[in-house]
Symmetry: C2
Subunit: 403 residues, 2 copies
């Protein structure tokens, strides 16, 4: 078995834990954040940039790669690792979320889902078995079961139906799996309904997956609700398996959810906000386009060891962003990802040293989080652009330049 | 005097020569090509990328930097080198070409030029003395006199008037110069009129500049005309001073003009075409978006030592360009610039070894140049987009993504 999970240390005061996920392509110290490279590229960065910021595992997406360039192309090129030039671990999402949020849905029933491509409108049929097979052909280290992901506004009846189908599909995915080189994770659904979350976690646990994801959160529901759902779910998942919270990636949410026992995260938030000029600093996000930064001769975050902070001033970045220069997007992305990677590293160290509770208090005390109303409005605005495609499956069908 | 020019070797059969331009920030082996970084950034690349492709000197632009971020900002930040993080030599153009091609011209007379910013429409007045002072404040190593650059379709009367004014301005620029750290080059004009070219070269030579540029070419005139004008001009310039042909940068034009005695070039062509997916290979330009490249498992140019060719396949680049991914622009730019830098290095070696004539024949024999009609149509199309701004002063007021 090429996938193992080992817990090194657990926090005494919270549910946080430090561990290692081992895959065929390397070891991932957890808690870990996965930069998002849906189209076989983390926007604006090379694999070397990703290594430099400290990324240990990337996320890519079977839906995007199936549509373009096609699984055949990647398979011919020796698989996804070789195609994109990244030798480390890769997790691929099945594309369930994208099919339900991005493609035009034609029909969903127990057999599978018929959808239209967001790129050219072509019609496709995907079964849970297909989703597994596509990901096996990509050669990713961790693959995800096909799930049905209803919107966060869905009522309990709709969510129950989707969750039950997700469970039946999860079982079929397990049966469809070939080979031992890839670990198939199940995805807990259940919307914002505590009893459905518990049921879903318990049911998937009974199927004995090597890891469990929590899907269907961070879709626009209040933060309190998200945290409560994570708690409900985690309480019904086995302690010895990795827990992956999908789509979460703001600094404050990472800290809060590590405290609740999450080991793995992905989100396009750090890279997307970077391209938009919102850069992380110890005290909160700053808008690099702000006129007051025009002549500021210091790095974005004096405590940051990233290439951008080591080499360039806020004044220069302000100029690049205002001039919409391509270099802005790369330098901003490097900084934001490095900030997140350092945050994960610091949390891990704190867990190992037994000081995570302290770290959590200090970080959340000094990092000014974005106001929740603003945050939800931004999220809604982003989700509303569903005809456009971005690394998260939300966004623009362009080069990822946010304007 | 911090600027010197030394000729190491001259070709016996052509006018090509190998030399060194020494500046306060380093030595430039010539013939040399300057990547274009009008807005204090070569689009999509960091200074380290530029070092890696072998760039020894960059070009930037006083017009662009004056408008944004403003000369004050750059001066406060310790000058252009420190602002953009490039420690090597920098040549700045005065912005004459941009004012006459890009800004809305309000009035030009002997005193100077009144123009409106292409960014916000604000009105500005610039004299030859101002142009020198702005560039001295930027701290660039080589600065350019303010010139008047008429379109290539202008009649002889208009060109004579512009050329005469350029001469009067050149004298005033020389007088306005302070300090010895920067070399001021004069710019020969004269359009497509051999006698005006000779007159202009002779007149500027009488003023004894440390270097001479040839302006007003590569603006859409036939290639034969351009080469004839270069020959006329070079024949009237002193042998011991550097000769800089402005705006030239296709592989074939570089070879032809090195053969005619040019030492220095700049052009946005290699970087602009790269962003458009036209990548240089030994046999000519290839369009990386071509469907036949979808599954091609080899580098763009098997003989190329650039980062892109060392790490990525044509198939992956085809995917990035088709998906309009930001990484495409960086990888394409690295390749095209490295191709040009290697071409310059190979020409220099050939001159030093006494085999330039052979090199020229071989290169032009195997490199399939773009059909002249196609080339001129592309150039016209590009120049016509004069409301948009790019690194050459032609192009889009966006991030430089060509679509």
């Amino acid at each position: 078995m090429s996938h193992t999970f080992e817990i090194e240390k657990t926090c005494r005061h919270t549910s946080a834990r430090a561990g290692f996920i081992t895959t065929l392509h390397g070891v991932v110290p957890t808690p870990a954040f996965m930069p998002v490279g849906s189209q076989a590229t983390v926007k604006a960065l090379t694999p070397d940039d990703l290594k430099d910021v400290g990324a240990k595992i990337l996320l890519s997406n079977a839906y995007h790669l199936y549509l373009r360039p096609g699984i055949d192309v990647i398979e011919q090129m020796g698989g996804l690792h070789r195609f994109m030039g990244w030798a480390g671990p890769i997790l691929t999402d099945s594309g369930g979320y994208q099919i339900f949020s991005l493609a035009t849905l034609r029909r969903v029933d127990d057999e599978g889902v018929v959808f239209r491509s967001h790129i050219d409108g072509s019609e496709h049929f995907l079964t849970p078995e297909d989703a597994v097979k596509l990901q096996e052909r990509l050669g990713s280290d961790i693959i995800m079961a096909l799930d049905e992901c209803p919107p966060h506004t869905a009522g309990m009846g709709q969510v129950r139906e989707a969750t039950d189908r997700t469970h039946r599909w999860a079982e079929r995915c397990l049966k469809a799996r070939r080979g031992q080189d890839q670990a198939l994770y199940g995805i807990v659904q259940g919307g914002i309904f505590p009893e459905l979350r518990r049921e879903s976690a318990a049911y998937l646990t009974s199927l004995d997956f090597p890891g469990y994801a929590i899907g269907g959160l961070s879709l626009g529901e209040p933060k309190k609700v998200m945290l409560a759902m994570v708690e409900e779910t985690v309480s019904c998942l086995p302690g010895g398996k990795p827990r992956y919270l999908m789509g979460v990636g703001s600094p404050e949410d990472l800290v809060e959810n590590v405290a609740r026992g999450i080991d793995l995260f992905d989100s396009a938030l750090p890279t997307r906000t970077a391209r938009n000029g919102a850069l992380f600093a110890a005290t909160g996000r700053l808008n690099i386009r702000n006129a007051s930064y025009k002549g500021l001769d210091q790095p974005i975050d004096p405590g940051c060891d990233c290439y951008t902070c080591q080499r360039f001033s806020v004044a220069y970045l302000n100029h690049l962003f205002k001039s919409k220069e391509l270099l802005a997007y790369r330098l901003g992305t490097i900084h934001n990802l490095r900030f997140i990677m350092r945050l994960m590293e610091r949390m891990r160290q704190a867990i190992v040293r037994g000081s995570f509770g302290e770290f959590q208090r200090e970080f959340l005390g000094s990092y000014r989080t974005t106001d929740e109303e603003v945050r939800l409005a931004q999220k809604q605005q982003w989700l509303a652009r569903s005809v456009r495609v971005d690394d998260e499956g939300n966004g623009s069908e362009d080069s990822g330049v946010v304007t």
